[in-house]
C-alpha cells in the first residue's frame, strides 16, 4: 500500500485507520514502494536476523583484537563473569549486554554485521531482539515482526534526521538504535503500537545531546561499551512504556528536538575526533600510539 509515514503521528494514525500493527504498515509500504511481495520483504528481513545471530555466536567467544589493537575482548570478559556470577538483573540482562558487545566487537574485527541503523551502533538492536527471542522462545515470524517494527521507528526518525554521527552526533546513531530496540521490545512483550512509539520516544528523549567523539576516529572508544549501555537503555524505555507511563513531549517533537540539538552541536563533537573524549590527555596518547603502530604519518 502507498502509505506516508514520515512522522510518528502519521504512522500511528495509519495503524488506527487500517487496524494494523506497525510492522504490517511498514512491510506493506516497503513492498509497494519497491515492487516486491510482502513475503520477499520478510525473507530479506530474516536474512538480516540470521546475520545478527551469527555475529553474536562468533563474537561471544572471540578475543581477537581490532586492527588498532584497542578493543576486542570485552564480550568474552563479560560473559566469563556471568558464567561464575549471576547478573543483578538476571539472565535477560546478561544476554543483552553480552550480545551487544559481541556484535559491535565482530564489527571492529572486520567481520560480518548488519548496520542497524549504522555500523557503530550495530550491537543494540540485535542484542535486544535475540536476547528476548531466546528468553521468550519467539518464532521466526515473531522475530521478523519485531525487527520490522524497529525498522519503522528508524524510518520515521530518519525522515528528519539522518542516522549519522557527522550529522547529529551519537544521539542519531546509538540513540536511534536504542529507540528502535525499545519499540521492538514492546512489540515482543505484546504492547500496543502507541506504547512502542512511546517507548522509542522515551529512549530518544533520554539520550538527547549525546556526542560522537571517538578516540583516533575509530569505531572503538567509546562505541563498543556504549552499545551495551544503550541496549539496556532500550529495555528501560520499553518497561516504562508498557506500564502506561507516557512521554509528556510528543514523539515527533522529540525528533525535532534531536534535530535542533544536532544542529547546535559543535562540529568538533560530530565524528571529527576534535573534541570530547578524543582530545582528552589519554585519548590523544592512545591516538599517537595507534598511529605509530599502524605507521600513519
Amino acid at each position: 500500500m502507498e502509505y506516508s509515514i514520515n512522522t510518528f503521528e502519521k504512522l500511528l494514525n495509519t495503524c488506527k485507520e487500517t487496524n494494523k500493527k506497525i510492522y504490517e504498515i511498514m512491510q506493506e509500504k516497503e513492498a509497494y514502494d519497491f515492487e516486491e511481495s510482502i513475503i520477499e520483504v520478510r525473507e530479506k528481513t530474516y536474512k538480516i536476523i540470521e546475520v545478527m545471530k551469527d555475529a553474536i555466536k562468533k563474537g561471544i567467544i572471540s578475543k581477537e583484537k581490532s586492527i588498532s589493537g584497542l578493543c576486542g575482548d570485552d564480550a568474552n570478559k563479560l560473559s566469563e563473569r556471568f558464567r561464575h556470577k549471576k547478573a543483578l538483573f538476571g539472565s535477560t540482562f546478561e544476554k543483552i549486554t553480552c550480545y551487544a558487545l559481541a556484535t559491535i566487537e565482530e564489527n571492529l574485527r572486520m567481520n560480518k554485521i548488519a548496520a542497524c541503523p549504522t555500523a557503530g551502533s550495530c550491537g543494540i538492536v540485535p542484542a535486544v531482539l535475540i536476547a528476548l527471542s531466546e528468553e521468550y522462545d519467539l518464532s521466526k515470524e515473531d522475530e521478523i515482526n519485531a525487527l520490522i517494527t524497529a525498522g519503522a521507528i528508524g524510518y520515521v526518525i530518519s525522515s528528519k534526521v539522518a542516522p549519522a554521527g557527522a550529522v547529529a552526533g551519537c544521539q542519531a546513531e546509538c540513540g536511534v538504535a536504542s529507540a528502535m530496540g525499545s519499540a521492538l521490545a514492546v512489540e515482543i512483550m505484546g504492547g500496543t503500537d502507541t506504547q512502542a512509539v512511546n517507548a522509542a520516544a522515551l529512549a530518544l528523549k533520554n539520550i538527547l545531546g549525546l556526542t560522537c567523539d571517538p578516540v583516533s576516529g575509530l569505531v572503538e572508544i567509546p562505541c563498543v561499551k556504549r552499545n551495551a549501555f544503550l541496549a539496556i537503555h532500550a529495555v528501560t524505555a520499553a518497561e516504562i512504556s508498557l506500564s502506561g507511563i507516557e512521554t509528556k513531549i510528543p514523539p515527533d517533537e522529540i525528533v525535532d528536538a534531536m534535530l535542533q540539538t544536532g544542529q547546535l552541536m559543535s562540529p568538533l563533537l560530530k565524528e571529527t575526533s576534535q573534541g570530547g573524549l578524543a582530545t582528552t590527555k589519554s585519548g590523544k596518547l592512545i591516538n599517537e600510539n595507534m598511529r605509530k603502530k599502524l605507521l600513519i604519518k
Binding site: E30, I67, S158, A162, K297
Partner: protein, 222 residues
C-alpha cells in the same frame, strides 16, 4: 531524490567496522573496477584526508583493494585480502595525502595497464559513494542506477544518437550529465537508467562514429 527503504535502516549487511570507511571503500573499488573493466598491471590507491588519516584502522586500504578485486560489501574476503592469491593478480600501492579541496573521504585510483586511467571518487556516508571524475572528465556515478558512461568527440547530435538507441529499448533515462574538456574536443556523458541496457544496444552505441569509449556499469546489489 532517492526513495527511502526499510533496508536503509536495518541493513546493509557488511564487513565492519565503518559504513563510510569500509563499506564505502569496497563500493568505490568495485565501481572503479567495473569502469576500468579489464585486468590492470598496477593500481595505486591515493587516499585523501580522513581516508588517509583513519583509513588503516578502518581497513579502508583492504576495502579498496577487495572492491577492485570484485568483492561486495559483505564479503568475508575483505579482512584477509592482502593474504589471498587473488590479490597477486596485479601490483598495487597506497599513497596518503591531505588536500582540503577534496572530500574528507576521497580516493584516486591510478590504474596502469593496456589502458591508463585515473578514477576519482568519494565515500559520502552510510556506505554510499560517488565517482566524480574519470581522467579529466567530471562524472556522476553513484551505483544507485545502471549507468552508461561514454567518451566521444564533442559535436552536435551525439546525445540524440545515444538517447534514441536507448529509447528503442523503451528504457527511461533517470538523469544525464555531460562534460567536455574544450569545444570540439573530447566530451563525456553519464546516463543513469531505470532499466538494464541489453548488450546489443551497448554494442550499437560503441559503433556510433566518434564514440571512443563506452562502459555500461550495473547498479550495486542491495
Amino acid at each position: 531524490m532517492k526513495q527511502r527503504s526499510l533496508f536503509d535502516i536495518i541493513s546493509p549487511v557488511m564487513t565492519g567496522p565503518s559504513s563510510s570507511h569500509t563499506a564505502g571503500a569496497v563500493r568505490l573499488g568495485l565501481m572503479a573496477k567495473n569502469i576500468y573493466n579489464s585486468l590492470p598491471e598496477k593500481v595505486t590507491f591515493r587516499l585523501y584526508n580522513s581516508f588517509a588519516q583513519t583509513g588503516k584502522g578502518h581497513g579502508t586500504d583492504k576495502g579498496l583493494l577487495a572492491g577492485f578485486l570484485g568483492c561486495s560489501v559483505d564479503s568475508e574476503k575483505i579482512k584477509n585480502i592482502f593474504d589471498l592469491n587473488e590479490a597477486k593478480k596485479f601490483q598495487y600501492a597506497y599513497e596518503y595525502e591531505q588536500d582540503p579541496d577534496r572530500h574528507p573521504n576521497a580516493v584516486d585510483f591510478i590504474i596502469e595497464g593496456d589502458m591508463n586511467m585515473t578514477i576519482s571518487g568519494n565515500s559520502v556516508g552510510a556506505g554510499n559513494i560517488e565517482i566524480v571524475k574519470i581522467d579529466d572528465f567530471a562524472a556522476k556515478i553513484s551505483g544507485e542506477f545502471n549507468t552508461l558512461i561514454l567518451f566521444y568527440k564533442d559535436k552536435p547530435g551525439m546525445i540524440s544518437k545515444v538517447s534514441s538507441l536507448i529509447q528503442k529499448e523503451n528504457i527511461n533515462i533517470a538523469s544525464l550529465d555531460c562534460d567536455r574538456n574544450a569545444r570540439g574536443q573530447t566530451a563525456s556523458m553519464c546516463i543513469c537508467l531505470d532499466g538494464k541496457l541489453p548488450c546489443n544496444i551497448v554494442y550499437d552505441i560503441e559503433k556510433i562514429e566518434d564514440v571512443y569509449f563506452v562502459r555500461n556499469v550495473d547498479k550495486f546489489e542491495v
